[in-house]
Symmetry: C2
Subunit: 346 residues, 2 copies
Amino acid sequence: MKRTEISEYGEFGLIDHLTKGIENVNASTAYGIGDDAAVLDYKGKQTLVTTDMLMEGVHFDLTYVPLKHLGYKAAMVNISDIYAMNGTPRQMTLSVALSKRFSVEDMEDFYAGVLLACQKHGVDLVGGDTTSSLTGLAISITCIGEADKDRIVFRNGAGQNDLICVSGNLGAAYMGLQLLEREKAVYYSDPKNLQEPFSPDFAGKEYILERQLKPEARGDIIEQLDKAGIKPTSMMDISDGLSSELMHLCRQSGTGCSVYEERIPIDYETAVMAEELNMDVYTCALNGGEDYELLFTVPLTDHDKVLQLKDVKIIGHMTRPELGQHLVTRSGQEVELKAQGWQSNL
Amino acid sequence: MKRTEISEYGEFGLIDHLTKGIENVNASTAYGIGDDAAVLDYKGKQTLVTTDMLMEGVHFDLTYVPLKHLGYKAAMVNISDIYAMNGTPRQMTLSVALSKRFSVEDMEDFYAGVLLACQKHGVDLVGGDTTSSLTGLAISITCIGEADKDRIVFRNGAGQNDLICVSGNLGAAYMGLQLLEREKAVYYSDPKNLQEPFSPDFAGKEYILERQLKPEARGDIIEQLDKAGIKPTSMMDISDGLSSELMHLCRQSGTGCSVYEERIPIDYETAVMAEELNMDVYTCALNGGEDYELLFTVPLTDHDKVLQLKDVKIIGHMTRPELGQHLVTRSGQEVELKAQGWQSNL
């Protein structure tokens, strides 16, 4: 593997190298990389801004996350926040601080991941900062999008009888993380693995791995909602776990909620992995986080429309606030929801 | 000093605590902190976006930078980039990653500094991220502003005979840094300083210290330019040093330049400090960086208008590109400009 030191390029040289050939695809990108600030023109639409910071050792572990995947995921997580407002992501700024451990080729991989995610969702990379760090890698991304004023969906608009919907399935990203952690432990438990090529046992677990390493922001759901003429009353993406996010929606909308355990969508691989690890799969789905699925509420009158949506499930309904936030278990018991929220691990 | 552990609040609790009472002042801030993304409405104006990342040990040294000053400077540096586009800063997002070394009170100080800078320039804090770091403090700020499309000034518009202007004076921030580094070395050279209260020798050096620790973005110059009916042909703020920034303007505008050493504005304290340290004050002014003054060019026809501006000096003129970038020394020699650029030290 070729290794070019960052110092061969210098800060400006590195940025030029990594960003050359970037072509903007959005009419709203009036001016991208190369000045004190980027210039955007939304021509009367509203501007959405979200930002996230990711630190090595806290949010990601480079022993099992390839840099290209890391870039992809870091971008996707921010793109997801714009969709969660019912908006369209358009631009991104990317700041990276890196120690001498990283080479130019490492950064090329990382950028390739970021740019792939951007390309998939029609996002222009319009600026950023590349600088040094004493230890490890730090990433900060800001994603900017647009929406018509009357289409934006906040967390605070749910009504008391609204249906609670969720896209895709839950708990898979968390199970993928458990699998990676298990294989990492196996790897380090035997010193001879450090000398030989190591083949972790991932057979039949590709889906949960992909959910952890390469999450997809659900722009397709936003598109479906628009086509079906549904404007959710509240929405957010599930980054910290269903329980925690439901409590955000309830708190901000001033409602209670009832969610049915048996309705929570879970993939087969997630269930198998949970069983292997002797964990309760619903606990994982409720608290696992990092699925980046959309959680939203719609008025009861949209019930039939929602049933027509692909990959969306109704899992419960909002209630009067004094009823609190509840999970109805498969045995019919009402259990109070708790936002345990695992620490996010990218 | 009271010390409250961050863990007593948790991530969401800490953000709520630090951001409570924040009131937005801009009509363009449709929705601030509290959802997946902030919502801005520029009603037809163009949007400016700039971002910066600052790492402990690389960009700042907490042995002599108080956290409140750090917050103030980190915000100011980004606000300065919006002015450098001839725009008006309006919103900011702030991401912070911090290790267990930092307490809630530390973060209160840091936020107080950020909010003071925002308040001075009418900027709303509309979002961000607070997370953990294994070592030290990492800061990422994105500043967003607005401008009428035909008022934005890029780096690439300078013409071949345009006058080169600079606000304020140069080299002071760098001299302030040298002073702080010197006193730090004195402090650590004597072990008994660690036991006793230490009084560094800053008498008569207040101005250069302030320039290093508490820089001010030159919104006042942008206002003056507007009132005087001057639209610069190119502009940027001086963060890496005059030489380096001049070369950016020349490269992007396709011009050469001649700058006169004797015209470079230098404060008395800067000159005294340079003499004390046996350094050439012009070298410091040309390469020191972190002054956050504005460097801009205007057409020759604006010569008389520029003379009326307060705190602005004409230091040279653009030339044909084949003439290269030159400094004319006090003795009349033409020296080629070099962008040494010191590593930025916040």
